[in-house]
C-alpha cells in the first residue's frame, strides 16, 4: 500500500503500532504495518508530534475505520465481524444461529427499523453490548428510562422477529 516509510519518534511509533493492533479486527492483521504508517502521516500532517495517548488512539481509530470502509466498498466478502470474546464463545448460541448469523442479522436490522425511535436507539446500543449506565449516558436520559426503553424495545423486537418467522 505505502511505497515509502515515514517516521515519528520511536516511542510514538511504538504506541501507534500497538494502538492500531488493538483496534483493528483480525482480518486486517496483514495491513497493520501500513495502517500504522498512514496514522503516522496523519500526525505529521497535523504539525503536532507531542500527542497524548487519547489523541493517538483517535487517529489510529480513524485510520482503521477508513480502511474497513474501503475494503467493504471493494466488495470484499466473508470478513468476520469483531465482537467480544464472550459473545463469540457464548454457550447461548445455537448451531443454527452460528451458521445463519448473517442472514438472521439482516432480518434483525430490518426488524429494528420498525421500532419507535427511542426504543430502537436503546435496543441498538444494548445489542452493541452497552450497559444500562452507558446507554443512559449516550442517549442523555436517566438510567430508569434507559432500562425501560431497552426492556420494552426488546419485547417489540421479538414480536417483529416472530412476524418474520424467527424465534429469538
Amino acid at each position: 500500500m505505502t511505497a515509502y516509510t515515514v517516521s515519528l519518534d520511536v516511542e510514538t511509533m511504538v504506541k501507534l503500532k500497538r494502538f492500531v493492533g488493538r483496534i483493528s479486527p483480525g482480518w486486517l492483521a496483514d495491513q497493520r504495518e501500513d495502517l500504522t504508517q498512514m496514522a503516522a502521516i496523519k500526525i505529521l500532517r497535523s504539525g503536532r508530534t507531542d500527542l497524548p495517548n487519547g489523541l493517538l488512539y483517535r487517529i489510529a481509530y480513524s485510520v482503521v475505520i477508513d480502511e474497513i470502509r474501503r475494503w467493504r466498498r471493494r466488495n470484499e466478502v466473508g470478513m468476520s465481524p469483531s465482537m467480544p470474546d464472550r459473545l463469540a464463545n457464548s454457550d447461548e448460541l445455537t448451531p443454527e444461529t452460528r451458521t445463519r448469523g448473517a442472514e438472521i442479522g439482516a432480518i434483525l436490522v430490518s426488524s429494528l427499523a420498525e421500532l419507535n425511535d427511542d426504543r430502537r436507539r436503546a435496543v441498538t446500543l444494548y445489542l452493541q453490548s452497552h450497559s444500562i449506565p452507558e446507554i443512559s449516558r449516550i442517549l442523555g436520559c436517566n438510567r430508569k428510562r434507559a432500562s425501560n426503553l431497552v426492556y420494552r424495545g426488546l419485547e417489540d423486537l421479538r414480536s417483529e422477529l416472530l412476524m418474520r418467522g424467527l424465534t429469538p
Binding site: 488493538r22 481509530y61 470478513m79 465481524p81 469483531s82 454457550d91 445455537t94 448469523g101 436507539r121 449516550i138
Partner: protein
C-alpha cells in the same frame, strides 16, 4: 435482563449482519463516531449517530471497535 448472556443470539446476529453490508454515502465519519462514543458531541448529534447504527451494520462494526478503543484509552490515560 438479569442474565447478561440471555440476548447473546441477538447480539451475535446483529454483529454478523456486517458480513454482507456495504457502507453508504451518508455514513458518519470516524471522528463523528468517536465523538459520540466519548460524549464529546451533543445529545442530538449522538441520537443521529445511534439512529444510523441501527440501519448500518458497517458503522455498527466501527462503533464496536470504537468501544474497544474507548476502553483501552481509558486504561492508557
Amino acid at each position: 435482563m438479569t442474565d447478561p448472556t440471555q440476548d447473546d443470539p441477538l447480539r451475535f446476529a446483529f454483529a454478523k449482519a456486517f458480513e454482507d453490508a456495504r457502507p453508504g454515502e451518508d455514513c458518519p465519519g470516524a471522528d463523528q463516531l468517536w465523538g459520540a462514543l466519548h460524549g464529546v458531541s451533543s445529545v442530538p448529534e449522538r441520537l443521529l449517530i445511534v439512529d444510523h447504527l441501527s440501519l448500518c451494520p458497517v458503522c455498527a462494526e466501527a462503533w464496536r471497535l470504537g468501544q474497544k478503543a474507548h476502553a483501552l484509552t481509558e486504561a492508557a490515560v
